[in-house]
């Protein structure tokens, strides 16, 4: 058993036993869902279905129903795509990178953060697919033998790299998440009383029995998957940034993009985790496991990544002037002072100023303030992508082609719809899946549980 310094705040509050942990996590699944769950699920479902309706209309009519024009050929679609992929970066970062760093506080949040990641990447993946207009030929992005004279996909294109990166990231995240879920499903299976839920959870738990050899393999798989997923997390958003960075559009053609996008992704992902967890811990009475210290740790990550993003914004601005390239300089001057100044300054306020408030211990330990900032950050990160994409395109080399982008109601409907669908998935997850890695949390009970840390025997050797 690993001991830690007494002055470290315990990660599990109260006087919990192993059985209490099982009870606390399984009870919300076994009890009837509260009324609030049905209300939220209903709202999310209606919004999600509206989005599905908009997507069906779009597929039936064509991508012309979006507010795109000749100059601005990419706008909300790819903004939303990058926004969702970015949000989908926190889960695997928490479970993989923090596992390699042996951060034990990850155990309380990794399950729901990974679920959030998976659903966010689902939503992200939707945008390139519907942008094809002809969804049913989506498999053409794969290098399959075909009847067009062996015409292969272009492996030189960052858009194709994206296909590989996103699908690898999604499938590896699902596998990582599910392998961790199997022992916890077994716990629910062994407690289930109703025959239907017993049947369901025994299928989901794959017949897990918790043998010593199984656990030995489990730990190896978790470690190696974490080792594989860590570079994967960084590669995915780097590759997303290549979609822009390898082009020659002023404002996009920037070598700083990969690290800047990765930091931004972690920044927005952690903000989304905060938004969801602050509600979930309350609704499911998990305050003993996800408490102020966890929120504070995440706020520190938000502050650090927010500062990296801020530094990148300012570097970009400086380099555009220092480069001496007038087109480059104009792109950035236009961003800050042109017709889209409001988007630029919203981005600056939300992403650069607001996370700096986390330097104050009082603020970063305040749950209400954290909730507020987490929403602000995600608004800011949406504007970041909008600013990069739309302001760089709307004024190109030919002033006669200059234009503005106005979203159509389908643009808005599809975007809002994905938020609805995301919550539909997340609410289903919270209802039927163990939202905490309960068996992993048991391993830190003796090392980081409050009652154990406070007992006089804590520092004696066993």
């Amino acid at each position: 058993m690993q001991k830690e310094a007494v002055i470290r705040e315990p990660l599990i509050l109260g006087h919990k036993t192993y059985h209490d942990i099982t009870e606390d996590v399984c009870r919300p699944i076994e009890d009837k869902a509260p009324k609030m769950w049905y209300i939220l699920f209903g709202i999310a479902l209606i919004i999600g279905l509206y989005g599905v309706g908009c997507i069906l209309y779009l597929l039936g009519t064509g991508v012309g129903v979006w507010g795109l024009n000749k100059t601005i050929g990419w706008a909300w679609d790819i903004t939303n795509f990058v926004w969702w992929v970015g949000i989908g970066h926190a889960g695997t970062l928490i479970s993989a990178v923090l596992l390699l760093f042996r951060q034990k506080w990850r155990m309380a949040i990794n399950r729901s953060a990974e679920a959030m990641t998976i659903f966010a990447v689902f939503m992200a993946g939707l945008f390139p697919l519907i942008h094809m207009g002809r969804l049913w030929v989506g498999y053409w992005v794969l290098p399959l033998p075909n009847q067009f004279g062996s015409l292969w996909v272009n492996f030189n294109s960052p858009l194709l790299w994206d296909v590989f990166a996103i699908s690898t990231y999604l499938s590896v995240s699902v596998v990582f998440w599910y392998i961790g879920l199997i022992p916890d499903f077994a716990t629910i299976r062994d407690r289930a009383k109703k025959p239907l839920s017993k049947k369901m959870y025994s299928i989901l738990s794959f017949g897990w029995s918790g043998r010593a050899k199984n656990w030995n393999r489990f730990e190896m798989v978790s470690l190696v998957l974490a080792g594989l997923a860590t570079p994967l997390v960084f590669s995915v958003h780097s590759i997303v940034s290549f979609d822009f960075a390898t082009s020659i559009v002023p404002g996009w053609h920037t070598t700083i993009f990969p690290p800047y996008f990765v930091a931004g992704a972690v920044f927005s992902g952690f903000a989304m985790v905060q938004t969801l967890l602050l509600i979930m811990r309350k609704a499911m009475s998990l305050e003993a496991y996800i408490h102020t210290k966890h929120i504070e740790y995440m706020n520190i990550v938000i502050m650090v990544t927010g500062s990296i993003v801020g530094t990148a914004y300012i570097t970009e601005l400086f380099i555009s002037w220092y480069s001496g390239v007038e087109y480059e300089a104009y792109a950035f001057l236009n961003r800050a002072t042109g017709p889209y100044w409001w988007a630029y300054w919203s981005m600056m306020t939300c992403n650069v100023l607001s996370p700096q408030l986390m330097w104050f211990r009082k603020l970063r330990r305040s749950l209400l303030f954290t909730f507020f900032i987490s929403i602000i950050v995600n608004i800011g990160m949406w504007f970041e992508r909008y600013v990069i994409i739309v302001t760089s395109l709307h004024r190109d080399y030919l002033p006669s082609a200059w234009s503005m982008h106005y979203p159509s109601h389908i643009d808005i409907g599809v975007y809002i719809g994905t938020i609805g669908l995301f919550f539909v998935f997340f609410l289903l997850f919270a209802r039927f899946f163990p939202v905490l890695a309960l068996n992993e949390v048991k391993t830190i009970l003796k090392g980081s549980g409050q009652s154990y840390k406070e007992s006089p025997d804590y520092h004696k050797h066993h």
Binding site: P183, G210, A212, R217, N439
Partner: protein, 177 residues
Amino acid sequence: MTDKVIYVMYDDDQVLKDGAMKLVSKGIKISEVFSPFAIHGIDPIIGIKNTRLGIMAFLYGLTGLTLATVGMRFFMVTDWPINVGGKPNFTYLQNILAFIPVTFEFTVLCAAHGMAITYLLRNKTLPGMPAQNPDPRTTDDKFVIEIRLSENSMKEADLDLLLNETGYIELDKKNID
């Protein structure tokens, strides 16, 4: 031949570990331990070798790396070289930079999925498989040692006396054919 299986249940991982150490030092062979989470340090005590899954992951990764390299060389250089803006694809080496992202992704894809599938197969955990833990509480807060009489030369009565010293909470014996 009939055999007798003894399930010794503990309510603490540390007590089980101490007990197992005591039993093993007396020459008892422990055939299995069931626990709700990984008990660190139990494997060497009961003689479980470390898994070789890590090596398998490496081999799967190498397979992915090879497939990606061979595949992209065939698609982009041999079968249909494209001349993009005067940057032709006539040799693999000249174009290797463009192929690195997909090579990396495909390596990770093969390593992760290959390892996960091997893990599930080796554990015999697949959809629809029956659970084999002796007591449903072993996925909650109880820890069980399984001892088979056929694997031990000690008499049952002596074994019982020895087990009494380990501080178990429940003892269950089953005859199996």
